[in-house]
């Protein structure tokens, strides 16, 4: 059996003297959805940023498709099939919706035309066709989140890193966002998701890891973790 698509081994990251990640080891097989759960400041976002090489690691290794990513510039990783959707969405506010999508398309132009890619987006998010010429910054929070996911539709990454996709969304929008992620999942995309919305996330993730103070403290299949009240209470305090 070949190596999993994403293998993180003993990853350490420090901000100056502060150790944000202290030896994280996890992996995601191709087509798997892996959830990383943890409180604020537990290092989830740092983990994603380290995987996408936005942060330098002080120790450990990250392998994507069998190749160590050490020293590879972040933008090149993105070109090779990784898409990192940061917390706070990462849309470029002063670019139009169309241009935002175009950026994603230019990364990895497929055989189909940009217009065809847009059609795929409209099929999923009909509202996007109305917003196409608008500046992304003028969209509502929910629409911006749609745009972020729409970018993934156009971009078709092999490995998707998503940081808190439900942040600040209304419940309806949260459902919508997860529906799209589920679609990605069925299409065979590998997804690493960081979320606060524990139930929703674990109910659709294959694997889950609980991060605490930069270390993995528990892991298991999504269903296992979800069934374990100790984990939930540990995470949410009490519930």
């Amino acid at each position: 059996m070949s190596e999993p698509q994403l293998v993180v081994t003993d990853l350490h990251v420090a901000y100056g003297p502060i150790k944000a990640l202290r030896g994280v080891t996890l992996h995601a097989n191709e087509g798997q959805t892996v959830a990383v759960l943890g409180a604020n400041g537990s290092g989830k976002t740092t983990l994603l940023r380290a995987i996408s090489n936005m942060l330098a690691r002080s120790q450990g290794s990250v392998r994507i498709n069998g190749a160590d990513t050490a020293g590879v510039p972040a933008h090149r990783l993105v070109r090779e099939g990784l898409l990192h959707v940061p917390e706070g969405r990462g849309t470029i506010g002063r670019l139009s919706v169309r241009e935002n999508l175009r950026l994603a398309y230019d990364l990895r132009p497929t055989r189909q035309s940009f217009e065809a890619a847009l059609e795929l987006v409209f099929a999923r998010f009909p509202r996007m066709s109305e917003r196409l010429g608008q500046l992304a910054g003028s969209l509502s929070g929910g629409e911006q989140q749609m745009l972020t996911l729409a970018r993934a539709i156009v971009n078709r990454p092999r490995l998707l890193l998503v940081d808190e996709p439900s942040l600040g969304l209304s419940p309806v929008m949260v459902d919508e966002a997860f529906a799209v992620l589920r679609e990605f999942q069925t299409s065979g995309m590998t997804i690493l998701i960081v979320e606060q919305n524990v139930r929703k996330t674990l109910s659709f993730a294959h694997e889950g890891y609980i991060l605490r103070q930069g270390q993995i403290v528990a892991s298991g299949s999504g269903a296992e973790l979800l069934r374990d009240p100790a984990i939930l209470s540990h995470y949410l305090g009490a519930s």
């Binding site: 996408s52 936005m54 510039p73 972040a74 933008h75 090149r76 993105v78 070109r79 898409l83 990192h84 959707v85 940061p86 990462g90 849309t91 470029i92 506010g93 002063r94 670019l95 241009e99 175009r102 950026l103 994603a104 230019d106 990364l107 970018r151």
Partner: protein, 294 residues
């Protein structure tokens, strides 16, 4: 007379605008001031002199100006900006680029001396005049305006229509997000410096064609004025740089006509301070408030 001054102000303003555009491009992308642009503006004329001296026809010399100044811009990026990435390195980078500018001045003076040098443009070109609604306007001014407008049009097209422009705008807003979208920020920075420097060089080219001379000490004050104009228009705003440049050009021309020539530098700086006090983000820039950071 006044109409003629206004027309002249627009032409002068368009030269200011070219340099201000360079400043605002760099500032938009890096949030830093590139003082060396002033001296690249100064170099524009000397590149013409050098290339004509080497036997190049004037049209080729014009293209060489863009290329040489653009390439020098890459040097400036490497020396003064590559290492100073953090936000509090603003002053360090600015001073470093200023020092690069000082070196450029010195090298020009070593080569051509400190006094103005004639630019080899046929005098007939420079002297051709047309009458226009009772105004006497030099053809050269019209050419300059036309070339400037074309350059601005090309810039507008580059920035708003091409993939490179999209990337530049994306990096300007957030280098982090841009990287996450697969954009090579370093390359975008270089592209920005190349374009900005070529624009400043083009400004210098226009200036030297217009005045028939190139001078080693013209860059600094002209560049500072362009900086003020950038602030008047709104930093990082291309439209602001153009309109701000033309506004200042026209005001300066009229001030001289009405006998306020003695005030010189005061005009543009006082205008800038007034604008900034009334609208801290400049005429066209978004108001920068501290709240977003909190």
């Amino acid at each position: 007379m006044i109409a003629e001054q206004i027309v002249n102000g627009v032409v002068l303003g368009s030269m200011y605008a070219l340099v201000a555009l360079g400043f605002t491009l760099v500032f938009g992308v890096l949030d830093k001031l590139n003082f060396a642009l002033s001296e690249l503006f100064m170099l524009g004329g000397f590149v013409v002199i050098a290339s004509v001296g080497l036997g190049a026809p004037l049209w080729l010399a014009g293209i060489l100006v863009l290329v040489v100044c653009g390439l020098l811009g890459l040097v400036v990026e490497f020396v003064s900006f590559r290492k100073f990435t953090s936000a509090d390195a603003q002053v360090t980078a600015a001073l470093s680029s200023l020092a690069v500018g000082l070196i450029m001045i010195d090298l020009v003076q070593k080569t051509w001396g400190g006094e103005p040098v004639s630019v080899p443009v046929p005098i007939e070109w420079r002297r051709a005049n047309v009458a226009f609604f009772g105004m006497q306007i030099q053809v050269m001014k019209i050419v300059i305006l036309a070339v400037t407008l074309v350059l601005m049009g090309v810039l507008h097209w580059l920035i708003s229509r091409t993939a490179m422009g999209r990337n530049i705008r994306a990096v300007a807003e957030s280098p982090t997000f841009a990287t996450l979208l697969g954009i090579d920020v370093k390359r975008v920075n270089q592209q920005t410096f190349f374009i900005a420097s070529a624009l400043a060089g083009a400004g210098g080219l226009m200036f030297s064609l217009r005045n028939g001379i190139a001078s080693s000490d013209i860059g600094f004050t002209f560049g500072l004025k362009a900086l003020a104009i950038m602030a008047i228009g709104g930093m990082g705003d291309l439209r602001g740089a153009v309109l701000g440049g033309i506004l200042v050009g026209v005001i300066e021309s009229l001030a001289i006509q009405f006998g306020f020539g003695k005030l010189g530098e005061i005009i543009v700086w006082a205008l800038m301070i007034l604008v900034l006090l009334a609208r801290p983000g400049g005429l066209f820039g978004a108001a920068h408030t501290t709240e977003q950071r909190a």
